[in-house]
Symmetry: C2
Amino acid sequence: MTDQDYMNRALELARSVMVSTSPNPRVGCVIVSNGQILGEGATQPPGGPHAEVCAIRDAQQKGHELRGTTFYVTLEPCSHYGRTPPCVDALLAVEPARVVIAARDPNPLVSGAGIRKLQEAGIIVDLGLGLEQALEINPGFVSRMSIQRPWVRMKIASTLDGKVALNNGRSQWITGSAARLDGHHWRARACVILTGSGTVRDDDPLLTVRGVDTPRQPVRAVIDSQFAIDEDARLFDGGPVWIFVTEYNADKAARLAARNVRVITVAEKNNHVDLKAVMAWLGQQDINEVHVEAGPGLNGALLQAGCVDELLVYMAPKILGEARSAVAHRPFTVLADAYQFAFFDTTACGDDLRLRARLPMRWNQLQLQSGATPTSDTE
Amino acid sequence: MTDQDYMNRALELARSVMVSTSPNPRVGCVIVSNGQILGEGATQPPGGPHAEVCAIRDAQQKGHELRGTTFYVTLEPCSHYGRTPPCVDALLAVEPARVVIAARDPNPLVSGAGIRKLQEAGIIVDLGLGLEQALEINPGFVSRMSIQRPWVRMKIASTLDGKVALNNGRSQWITGSAARLDGHHWRARACVILTGSGTVRDDDPLLTVRGVDTPRQPVRAVIDSQFAIDEDARLFDGGPVWIFVTEYNADKAARLAARNVRVITVAEKNNHVDLKAVMAWLGQQDINEVHVEAGPGLNGALLQAGCVDELLVYMAPKILGEARSAVAHRPFTVLADAYQFAFFDTTACGDDLRLRARLPMRWNQLQLQSGATPTSDTE
């Protein structure tokens, strides 16, 4: 077993709590001595212990002495009092010899301070092993901590020729059941599922997580400048819903408030909700990842506003010809103006493909925040 | 080294002559005895020796005795006189103990007869090892032999949202240089590169193979019902060009004939060249693989006519919004009417992805022609 193997196990533990730690980051920790794993842990739901403390308790319950051990942890141990005491103090108390950390904590209250405290106690600290994978587990947390905005992932289910619905509006189903179930996993890890008023009007979706074991449902959010949403929409099922409007209506808002709906008035931009302002507001609400399932109009507006960090495209091996495209956006006159992402993951989902792509600039920003050196070629 | 390893080597040899054997199939052969490769061969250009004879000569030149050896050959040895004597006689002459064959020869003059002749001579014959890969090397030959039509591969270079050009027509370049070079490899293996009169008018392409070492250029073919093609098109460079028309013009045809251009009058169907008739005619001309690089109109017409067997899609991680789609086709009213392919290969090409998909029914037809048992699950 190598450092990489132990870190892989810690990353696996972090992934195992993907749907339960928000707004805290998903973190995994493994404690090793003489080639033996003494304890393991992953961050518990908010208010509960973090990964390092869980791993220490696990090891101690098994009767292990932790002095001189090596910790593998996917995120820099926190050094500040939040809902729980600083993890770095728990580490110092058991006196490990070495701590291997995948990513620096981008939290300005921590960033580097946890590492310094460990080093000052004479502990060897290695940073950067598994950084890329660690970052993929917490892009929203890193984004929120560094630029006060969530990480926005836009989901599209299209044919091979880029069509998402027939001209008559039918879209059930472009992709198969495996792709649709996979989509629910991505909904589950998000803090907010964002859509537009057009989709609510036309499809009346629930936008809940189904078929995935999760302790919490994400908040559903709707961009609805005119506040025209039908009060009988299936979305209003008692779970939290946020509606972003420019035209406020106090009576309607009051009726909806009784049904766990919050109406947020946002500045107008181009006769539309200012989407950058929405993202900033979501960041203030401790929202890490936003999952967009919207129609062509909102998809295009989000791209134009610079509010799309990642694309999650389920592509069916079908050709439809004349039909609706995924993104409505004024025509460009030069190709260089196209929105340019970078593919980073291609996976089969039943008969369909799942293609993931992200904005290279934004990803690079997160990498730097996580301690990657500017010259490193981690992609 | 296992049977699979030797067959893999034979398949590699077959692939090495991808651009030079047409209209003959690409075939590789390896002769093995006591774990040692005694000889290797691949089909030579038309009129030259086939793979088995090349491998026998190679082994004999090295002084090897071939009695009792095992032959690994990617296609059933031919049993009829074509441009060369039957390969099966060459095999019988050296008295191997065993012949392992990937795919049955679909040529009705051969199909199974070569295998029977070997078996009657007491040679052990194993059929089917590497069948799927062997078929991917010669889909056009198998198609032409079994249903007298070439295998038609449609190439598309699109963005992630399915756009192939801006509204102003610009399409250079949607994809990067790696994808474009890869595209030339697919042109090179085709016997015909097919396009439409609109593409010739708008883009004035050469449609030649560039950047790939090839002994021959495919024939360029144009669907041009009205025979409206500009006689100054760059396509008319001295290399062979075929034009399919419904409106014949003897004077124009005579002028073009002097420049190596053949004009073929085809039956009309829906005010358009009958595309199925074009494919039947191409089959009669010993055309194995047709590579389509056309605009949305011809792409849609070929799909509608049932003339597309495979899609070769280069996809750039870009979003364009309002722009031209790859396929023009009347809108469907139910999703089940979509053209349904199956993905079978996804490969990175620089920053782009290459997605390959094919018609499951057509592929299954070729599999059966190649000796796959109807119940086999080779996909």
